[in-house]
Symmetry: C2
Subunit: 501 residues, 2 copies
């Protein structure tokens, strides 16, 4: 046992406790808080955020981390403690590299930027947002440069921030394969628009029954209601206080039952990850999923690879039919399966299907690269955006509202975040392929027996939290690092069969 580590713990505990408070207030704000509460409550949130920052970024912690990083001290640390010190060192270095007055100025800029973006989006007025975006880009690049290592490209700083060990070299390889293999496929699928019937999904589905079914689905997948709850919010999300309190939200619309159904499967995938974190690390800095990309791999694995497969629905489709006899009586399992996999190019990322989704990400990735490496001014971005949509997806936005203004990410200063979404899908496909080699996956699904799947993911991914990074987890589980080939094959095979190409 390390005495120095014992001295670090009170700092970690305080940081954790304040994080619980902030998470709780944020969850409440999205689910329960009254309309007019936020103005007052945000003052408290601001103060708690400041306390949270100071609990970690201070001279005591700096000194302790330095001493704990020496070879001599590392010998006293457990595997998990080493991972915690490593993670804190990274966070500390990143944050401490930014002068506090610049950090604060950026926070103020971001607070103003969000409503400016929102209003620009509502009014289809990109010009009113461009100067603010330009400022956000300037700060983001400056902050990245503070953390830039020798020979490191600026955008790679951002990418490594969201997904440790990933960079443009890996992503360029990934996306170029995607482009060459799948752009032609997308165009072919687009031409067969009417090959799949989906009208029955636009009828009215009673919301109470949707709720019941979604609760059943969460439990079916393995969500533990003794250690989690489902709430409602405008946009579905997952959040957690610790491994015994994981919360997913859902959103219900009468004439779009597939939205709530696949949302709850998606969020349950996230939730299994968080509920599966080992008790020993849950309330520590490595007590959460290791990265955005790995988290998204778990949600998409359940939503798409399992949830949109025929074997998944084989044992439970009749239950859905019984709940909605009027709407589904005459719809076969096969028809339902085909409908929830209908693909077609569209303009809005969050509404995109499994096949076209990664191209929405590729476009954002290419633009972020141009921003960070090409110094393109903000004013020129909409034209590039529209041209890329035309090229890859064959559709072109007629307004910036349904074009470059659709996502809030850049208004929040999140550059390098988007690729995680596509990586998530690709990692999910790699895991899916691997699982098929180690267990009779489809048989399990057809038998309604999802426990062995969850157990395997828990054993090789979930329980480790942030103690291993994505590449380490993949290598230890599948024997190879990230490999996008499985994703390309998966999409090609699935959509070639579905559309009879």
């Amino acid at each position: 046992m390390s005495e120095l580590y014992e001295m670090l713990k009170p700092h970690l505990d305080k940081t954790y406790a304040l994080n619980v408070a902030l998470t709780m207030l944020s969850f409440d704000n999205s689910t329960a808080a009254p309309k007019n509460a936020i103005e007052n409550t945000s003052k408290a949130i601001g103060l708690l955020s400041g306390e949270h920052y100071n609990a970690l970024i201070n001279e005591d912690v700096k000194r302790l981390l330095k001493e704990l990083s020496t070879e001599q001290e590392q010998a006293f640390l457990s595997f998990e403690e080493k991972a915690i010190v490593k993670k804190l060192n990274k966070e500390f270095k990143q944050t401490a590299a930014i002068p506090p007055e610049e950090f604060q100025a950026f926070q103020i800029l971001l607070a103003k930027a969000y409503p400016i973006w929102e209003s620009a989006k509502n009014k289809n007025d990109y010009a009113s947002f461009a100067p603010t975006l330009e400022e956000i880009i300037r700060y983001s690049k400056k902050f990245a440069s503070y953390n830039q290592e020798e020979d490191q490209k600026l955008y790679d700083v951002q990418l490594d921030d969201y997904e440790e060990g990933f960079n443009m070299e890996i992503l360029d390889g990934f996306f170029s394969k995607l482009r060459s293999a799948l752009v032609p496929l997308v165009h072919k699928v687009n031409e067969k628009e009417n090959a799949i019937q989906t009208e029955f999904l636009s009828q009215d589905y009673e919301i109470d029954k949707q709720k019941n079914f979604c609760r059943f689905l969460a439990e079916y997948i393995g969500f533990d209601f003794n250690r989690g709850v489902i709430a409602e919010s405008e946009h579905p999300f997952t959040t957690e206080l610790h491994n015994h309190d994981v919360r997913i939200t859902n959103h219900f619309q009468k004439s779009q039952p597939d939205f709530s159904i696949f949302s709850v499967i998606h969020e349950s995938g996230h939730a299994l990850y968080e509920q599966g974190i080992d008790d020993a690390i849950t309330m520590t800095p490595i007590g959460q999923g290791t990265s955005m990309g790995m988290h998204e791999s778990q949600s998409r694995f359940y939503e798409n690879n399992l949830g949109r497969s025929l074997p998944f629905w084989t044992p439970i489709y009749s239950r859905l039919q019984e709940l909605f006899p009027k709407q589904l009586e005459t719809v076969s399992l096969e028809q339902f399966y085909r409908a929830v996999n209908h693909a077609h190019s569209s303009l809005i990322r969050t509404e995109a299907d499994e096949l076209t989704y990664p191209f929405h990400i590729m476009i954002r990735y290419e633009i972020e690269k141009l921003i960070f490496e090409g110094n393109i001014p903000a004013s020129e971005l909409p034209a590039i955006w529209n041209q890329k949509y035309q090229e890859y997806l064959g559709v072109c936005p007629t307004t910036d509202t349904e074009g470059i203004l659709q996502d809030m990410h850049w208004a929040l200063g999140s550059f390098g975040y988007f690729p995680s979404y596509a990586l998530g899908s690709a990692i999910a496909a790699q895991i899916y392929h691997h699982l098929k080699t180690v267990m009779p996956l489809d048989t399990y699904l057809e038998e309604g027996n999802l426990k062995p799947i969850q157990a395997y993911l828990n054993e090789h991914i979930h329980r480790f939290g942030g103690a291993k990074n994505t590449q380490e987890l993949l290598k230890d589980m599948t024997g190879e690092p990230f490999n996008p080939d499985y994703y390309i094959s998966y999409l090609t095979d699935k959509y070639t069969a579905l559309y009879d190409l």
Copy 2:
């Protein structure tokens, strides 16, 4: 403007922000949190509580408060700032008087005491709780002695803590009037058990419809849903983050519609107080109702004085009948009014009716006096309890579970709290009498026009928060200090008429 006061503000803001976090977590724990969350979450709560304590109880604040209390500095303070400094001085003095190691030992004792009490209650085994209660009493008396002023009785320290300006002299006067005027009335009412029909209230009332009606009632009374929400919990309560986020909870039982109906009226009374706090003081130490007793006066005024009156139901009873035609079609307004005022001695305080309720409190008050002033050992308390129930209410518990073990208050170390409940009813009656002299109260009720009532209470009570204490509020509004005579007359008149005595 006082520069010293400006220096105090960051401490107040931090204390407030941590209080928001703790309130939120506590509300969530009672309404939404999953079953197995609390063990982990309580670690975070413990840490935040420690931060909350340290944010106020520290040398900086001590020095600032001392300097702000000088005559010279007071001249620079506003009315509200003076009230804040006064309140903080009191809190600081009380807390600082207790040696930290004793305070902590007491907290540990209390944490253990709650499950011991719970188990003793479940098993009807007072003996297993008595030694713990003895310890709690020993600490409570010791802590009271630290804050005892010269010539002050020990129990008066406790009473003043919950209700500034109140002591045994006032309460002895109050309860002796109650005893002599109302014990005979209670006995007479008990003899006429069957004079009022209540069976129709034990039928099945659909819970969804109860919920709808309770939401309507909250709004009808004046609850602002833009600045508040209703949730569900095991026991109804009211809590708040600030005046724009006030939360009430309710609990629904199929065969007891009057429970949810009068609970929502009660909690809405609390909520109007908190929603009515002035914007200028909401997030400060005086930004809440001034005391337990005054708070309870607002909830009981709405629940009993208004809510259980005939004029209140005149404009809205038909709405309830329409919701529940099967159950209420043949029940007249007058019958409904009589049923919700049915009185009869019983053993459980929380289930007591308006007439017998204060005697449950009187018994606890007299026992607390014996504890603090008479040094009665814990082992002798059950016999005293039972004898007093027999004497005042004419009923005698056959088990301690429905006797002395029924309330959690003493297990929580809350001595001096109970009287606030009875004071609340008495203050409510005083306000009710006063309102009848300044406005056509019954006419407003019959017209379904509750706004002028809320406006008057806001003008004279709510908006001040803790800037004035109970006696000051009563004097400024009604022209006289606390006067229990109105309560005695109110109950006498109401129940004499109801039971035709």
